[in-house]
């Protein structure tokens, strides 16, 4: 596969390390009342869609950027690649 890195352009997927569902960015609040339940769902439950999937790839043999890749799990077609840091901020994460 080829991942079109937002900064570097097309790079072979073998340069990347895969983590999984981009929902891993949405780490729950450790102080929330339902923290235990929330962390369980965060850590263990997945949508695992057959189709469009947002997922985290790390450019290990490249610039060390974490990317959010939108990829179709049936065709492997990649429709969008973003820097995970931007996505995290867009989802309201800060420090």
């Amino acid at each position: 596969m080829i991942i079109n890195h937002p900064l570097l352009g097309p790079r072979d997927a073998s340069e990347f390390t895969y983590l999984g569902d981009a929902s891993l960015i949405n780490r729950p609040d450790w102080q929330a009342d339902n923290a235990a339940e929330a962390f369980y769902e965060y850590g263990y439950l997945r949508d695992n869609p057959a189709g469009e999937h947002q997922e985290l790839w790390y450019h290990e043999a490249g610039d060390r950027s974490w990317l959010v890749v939108t990829r179709n799990t049936l065709t492997h077609e990649i429709s969008k690649v973003e820097l995970a840091r931007d996505v995290a901020r867009a989802r309201g994460r800060s420090k």
């Binding site: 596969m1 080829i2 072979d12 997927a13 390390t17 983590l19 891993l24 960015i25 780490r27 729950p28 450790w30 102080q31 923290a35 235990a36 962390f39 369980y40 965060y42 850590g43 985290l56 790390y58 290990e60 060390r64 950027s65 974490w66 065709t75 492997h76 077609e77 990649i78 820097l83 995970a84 840091r85 931007d86 995290a88 901020r89 994460r93 800060s94 420090k95």
Partner: protein, 981 residues
């Protein structure tokens, strides 16, 4: 008598003679021959034996679709089983042997299978060999295995080298026949970066096999001329002898270039084959078509061949399979073969055409509406029996029979992703379907355009379309444009045994039986009869099998299903996929800064991940590793020892939020760590299990140096980047690995300070007061070399870790040894390191096995609940905090000399010994020369509350039972006085 079947003309170099051997017999050939054409030239028809019935087999085709003509090529460690004679380029001294026969090709004992073939019908083995059960492994299976298989391996390591490489282009053209050449010409002249790959050693495809004209010259001359022009273009890369084996995601293609297979011996350093990963925007598949056979009684007899193959052998290789040839066809293409062979002086016994309205000929007899109903001849064809329309039969005297059932487009690569080919009624064949691999289009015969003229045109247009070329295309040369009508004729009715898959011995009957027994989908058919599962992947058999299934099912072929193809297009040596990554080069080797010194010192090395580390340093007279390790431990604890710990991961953490960042990734707190101090850090995974441990030294308010275990250096760095970029995107923190930059040595033992004081420059006070336990800082050594000093201890002794730029690591180690002589300094390796950490009760790899929590390891208190840190929430799940969960303990045998076995399980002092009564297991075991006892660490249910309890350590695997006592894991200096001394 040599080359009795050689004809005039052809593309061989008659001025040069090559000699080769088949089954020990010598023959001659010419450059330009394949092994197949050379064997035919020498009138060798019997080449191998079939898989199941061991029936005589000869050549069927002249290309990579060959199911029968397979040999063991070359000898010794270079022996290649199952090598197609049809694609083996001739070289002087070539040696080949027939395979799957015993004792000889002509007299094969297992040919008796053929007599019992009626009992060995499709899937028979599923229905028998069941009683008695034990007989399967002992008797039935060994027999089956010996009979099965084809060629044999040498059992020696492959001595050749293989390379892997990467190439990029705008347009990849697969196949250099008329459409491929025309496409390359079009794209090349337009200035595009083009790769033109073809599996053959001569580019041109069928143009080299036909007598037709293209433009004002012969087809092969036209091809040669185009190839010449293409090779003069800097933007065009010609790759002959290169098979594109697979279409992978996003325009990546695998291609195998056979750089050395046509040579008797490889030049030094040169690869036998190269696996290319070709990255391309667009791909034009010009793979041509494969002629399909007609099944009839005994159609597998040597001498029965594809008509197009006979034509190729005659026109390209100047060889005829026999001086007397018959043709069996359902279309005009068979007549083409007859005409060409006749023109070359070969006697045409007759052309048997199933069509009542077949064209006539002045040159030879055409039997219209006739069919071949049987063949005769021992080890090769002598007669063909024909049934004529009037019901009478006739016998044709012939040594070869060319069969033509029409052509199947080579759609294989279009199927490598989701593509399913679609049925074309007019052509009665499958053509490429809709869902092609991204960027791929198809031209020429591969898409069903069978005429030369059509192929040339579709090639040019295909290239233009793929590259969005505007402007005029190259002029198309004149070429034949005969209409192609293919009325399917799959097999001759009423025959007893007609072969569909010749290599796997699948007959028309087997396909029908498969249907009868309910195996009616294509997948079931293939799996039940093994149709198309042979080394030719069914290139000449799949469609026929499908057609027969459709007939018995009373359905249309597309209703029954399509056969899809998987990579590789043709089989590829396993070594080619590995390239250089084998032997010592399987993985890169990482050397520590003191490696060369350690080597001089005679160290024994051990693989730790990709690192090579000194395991111990044997002295003359030491015959057992324990002697060396015990000495290293004793001497270190008694005076001072030095160990290279460079392999520990080092990560530079800087930024105004660095401390807060460490607070997040470590379970324990770091915000308040003072500058110039180091702290032990415990890192959890988000699931609450211990991920890694190490130290973090604060060199400045905004600067830490974090260490990780050797094993987890990469994954911890990745994890830290994840937290930094994905969880805390606004934290001001920057990371970079410095593992390799610093040679870091542990200097441990009572005299560690004394030794270091001789190394560290005097202006730096490293006395206990000025530089206490867990202190850290920048210093200089040996007269001004920048260095870092950490007062941390893994051994439990007074210890430091000193780091200097790696290039000086070798010199520093030698200096430490020299300056340490007065203290009887000893270098110690990973074994002694391991002994001392077990003596001290430090958890390491065997304890940090990914299933242990801080609580398990006795570090539960370190997990701060006052802050947000990775893993703290999930570490509190009910099962993870159960009071009788596993706890880290020390394990001591009641008898000091009794061996403790890591991996042994612990059982109560009495009671049953089984899984249900398992109390825990031993994680690490060593011999402690200090305690003069074997000792170990283990994880035991509620262990921390059971210290002093006697237990049985059982290891049935190594037939061991030992009485042990649970003790504190801190065997040596539990109060930690030494390391603060």
């Amino acid at each position: 008598m040599t080359q009795t079947n050689r004809l005039d003309g052809g593309q061989i170099d008659r001025n040069t003679s090559l000699s080769f051997r088949f089954d020990g017999r010598s023959y001659t050939a010419h450059p330009g021959d394949t092994l197949a054409s050379a064997l035919l030239a020498n009138d060798v028809r019997l080449i191998g034996r079939s898989f199941k019935y061991h029936r005589p087999r000869g050549l069927l085709t002249a290309g990579s679709e060959e199911p029968n003509g397979m040999v063991e090529l070359r000898t010794g460690a270079r022996k290649e089983p199952n090598t197609r004679a049809t694609t083996t380029e001739m070289f002087d001294g070539l040696e080949a042997y027939s395979q799957n026969r015993w004792p000889s090709l002509k007299f094969d004992a297992l040919a008796v299978n053929d007599m019992f073939s009626n009992f060995l019908s499709a899937g028979f083995y599923y229905k028998t060999f069941m009683w008695p059960a034990a007989f399967w492994e002992k008797i039935y299976e060994p027999i089956i295995r010996r009979a099965a298989g084809l060629g044999s391996l040498s059992m020696e390591a492959d001595p050749d080298e293989y390379d892997k490489g990467f190439r990029h282009c705008d347009l990849l053209i697969i196949g250099a026949g008329p459409s491929g050449l025309m496409a390359a010409l079009t794209a090349g002249r337009a200035g595009a970066d083009v790769i033109l790959a073809d599996e053959d050693f001569t580019l041109g495809g069928r143009l080299n096999s036909e007598t037709i004209a293209v433009g004002d010259r012969s087809a092969s001359d036209w091809a040669a001329q185009v190839v010449a022009e293409l090779s003069s273009m800097p933007n065009v890369r010609l790759m002959p002898r290169t098979t594109v084996i697979g279409a992978f995601d996003h325009g990546i293609y695998g291609a195998v270039e056979r750089t050395g297979d046509h040579l008797a011996t490889l030049p030094a350093g040169k690869p036998r084959q190269i696996l290319w990963r070709i990255y391309t925007q667009k791909t034009l598949l010009c793979a041509g078509a494969t002629e399909r056979p007609i099944a009839f009684e005994n159609n597998d007899r040597p001498g029965v061949m594809m008509a197009s193959a006979l034509r190729t052998y005659a026109n390209r290789y100047a060889v005829t399979a026999s001086q007397r040839v018959a043709i069996f066809t359902n279309n005009d293409d068979g007549h083409r073969t007859a005409t060409d062979l006749h023109a070359k002086g070969v006697k045409i016994a007759a052309v048997v055409d199933v069509r009542e309205d077949a064209p006539s000929s002045y040159d030879y007899e055409v039997l219209k509406g006739a069919q071949v109903i049987n063949t005769k001849g021992r080890h090769g064809l002598s007669f063909a029996e024909i049934s004529l329309p009037d019901g009478s039969t006739r016998t044709l005297d012939c040594g070869a029979l060319g069969v033509s059932g029409g052509w199947n487009p080579n759609v294989h690569l279009t199927c490598h992703q989701r593509g399913r080919p679609v049925w074309n009624e007019a052509l009665a064949a499958f053509v490429p379907g809709g869902e092609l691999p991204v960027g791929m289009s198809v031209a020429g015969a591969a898409t069903g355009i069978m005429s030369t003229c059509g192929a040339l045109q579709s090639g040019a247009e295909g290239a233009a379309k793929a590259l969005n070329l505007t402007g005029a295309l190259p002029d198309l040369p004149e070429a034949e444009d005969a209409p192609v009508i293919q009325t399917p004729f799959w097999y001759v009715q009423g025959c007893k045994r007609a072969w569909v898959d010749q290599q796997n011995d699948v007959t028309v009957k087997d396909v029908k039986l498969s249907y009868q027994e309910g195996f009616r989908s294509v997948e079931h058919l293939k799996r039940y009869t093994t149709l198309g599962m042979a080394t030719d992947q069914g290139k000449t058999s799949n469609i026929t099998g499908l057609a027969i299934m459709a007939e018995v099912a009373g359905k249309s072929i597309p209703e029954v299903g399509t056969t899809i193809f998987r990579p590789p297009y043709t089989p590829v040596p396993i070594a080619t996929f590995a390239g250089r990554m084998k032997g010592q080069e399987f993985h890169p080797t990482r050397l520590t800064p003191s490696h060369y010194w350690a080597k001089d010192r005679g160290a024994v090395f051990v693989e730790v991940g990709n690192w090579l580390r000194a395991q111990w340093f044997p002295l003359p007279g030491e015959t057992h590793w324990r002697q060396s390790v015990d000495r290293e431990v004793r001497q270190t604890r008694a005076s001072v020892g030095v160990c290279d710990c460079t392999t520990l991961g080092k990560i530079d953490v800087q930024g105004t939020d660095a401390a807060e960042f460490l607070n997040r990734i470590y379970a324990n707190g770091f915000a308040k760590l003072a500058v110039g101090k180091t702290r032990y850090g415990l890192m959890l995974r988000e699931d609450g299990m211990v991920m890694d441990d190490g130290t973090a030294a604060r060199l400045a308010e905004d600067h830490f140096v974090v260490t990780t275990t050797t094993a987890n250096a990469v994954s911890v760095y990745r994890h830290m980047e994840f937290v930094r970029q994905c969880l805390c995107p606004d934290m001001d923190v920057q990371l970079i690995s410095t593992t390799e930059g610093w040679a870091q040595y542990a200097v441990a033992g009572p005299n560690a300070r004394k030794l270091l004081q001789k190394i560290v420059d005097p202006e730096f006070d490293i006395s206990n007061e000025a530089f206490p336990f867990m202190a850290c800082g920048n210093v200089t050594v040996c007269g001004g070399l920048r260095a870092r000093l950490f007062r941390i201890s893994f051994s439990g002794e007074l210890a430091y870790e000193i780091a200097v730029p790696s290039r000086y690591g070798d010199a520093l180690m030698r200096r430490l040894m020299a300056e340490g002589e007065e203290f009887d300094v000893v270098p110690y390796g990973t074994e002694a390191l391991g002994v001392m950490r077990v003596e001290k009760g430090h958890a390491a790899g065997n304890e940090l096995n990914g299933t242990t929590t801080a609580l398990n390891l006795g570090l539960g208190k370190m997990v701060s609940k006052k802050k947000d840190s990775i893993g703290s929430v999930l570490s509190e799940r009910e099962a993870l905090v159960e009071p009788d969960g596993l706890r880290l303990v020390g394990i001591k045998p009641l008898l000091a000399e009794d061996k403790i076995t890591a991996g042994g399980h612990l059982m109560k002092a009495d009671g049953p010994v089984d899984a249900a009564h398992d109390q825990g297991y031993v994680t690490s075991a060593v011999y402690s020369p200090i305690l003069n006892s074997n000792i170990g660490l283990g994880l035991v249910k509620n262990g921390s509350e059971r210290l002093g309890e006697k237990m049985r350590l059982v290891s049935p695997l190594t037939s061991l039972t030992v009485e042990v006592e649970l003790v504190s894991a801190h065997f040596v200096d539990p109060e930690g006085e030494r390391l603060r001394a």
